[in-house]
Amino acid sequence: MKTAVIVFPGSNCDRDLAVALGAVTGVRPTMVWHGDTALPDGIGMVAVPGGFSYGDYLRSGAIAARSPIMRAVVDAAGAGLPVLGVCNGFQVLTEAGLLPGALMRNAGLNFVCRDVALTVGATDTGFTRGYTPGETIRIPVAHHDGNYVADDATLDRIEGDGRVAFRYAEPVNGSARAIAGVLNPAGNVLGMMPHPERKIDAAHGGTDGRRLFDGLLAMVGA
């Protein structure tokens, strides 16, 4: 499967994502600059990486969400292409309107950088089909603005629709209803604060993150 990773000024997990996608798919992803206006042809998914795009100016992910390439990502997501946003990528996807809610400063005000336990929610999507419902996995977080916020009606709706992909199984950042990752209504866009690309090799302390990419690859069938 061919994939693409978006690169903004200030992205710093783009190469981690590229290594993970390359390891799982056997094909090196195409790195796509934020100023580009089109995604490469024939890709099976696009990933929006972690980092501090545009220095987190204005709001985390705000400027990146309005960059030229994001118009192409929004169009592709609407057409059903799987889109994964990790950490700052999650912030970008909410700012771009692809996912509900917003990510605010962590409740404890500290940057949180450690492995955390997550409970898997929805498993009927390409991103999560490699897990079992209710399973606890361990994936690292590294963020300052991971405190998921949405109004109660929105939270009820995403929970009712089974769109919570991952929840924190321990206190991390004050997120509403412990939400760590959320899906769009069609299930082809996932935003999550934890970094699955950092847990794809046993030498890095575990492979719980790899199953996300494996599941996606199996769904696309390439």
Binding site: A62, M104, A107, V149, D151
Partner: protein, 76 residues
Amino acid sequence: MKLRIFVTLKPGVLDPQGRAIHHALGSLGFAGVEDVRAGKLIEMEVADSTDDAAIDSMCQKLLANTVIENYRIERL
């Protein structure tokens, strides 16, 4: 024309930064501070011909995240 755009958190949205400022004021000995909420002030210089709809659109599309923030436009 000079503009000031005040971006504030919507009522009900918890404000960790405001809470930290509140705590810090308390530890400096300032009594009677009941609540603190932090926001942003964006100052802009725009062409006099810029109409209200365009200014509102700037706020909606970029300057505020209307999921969590309100905005108020002040013309100087």
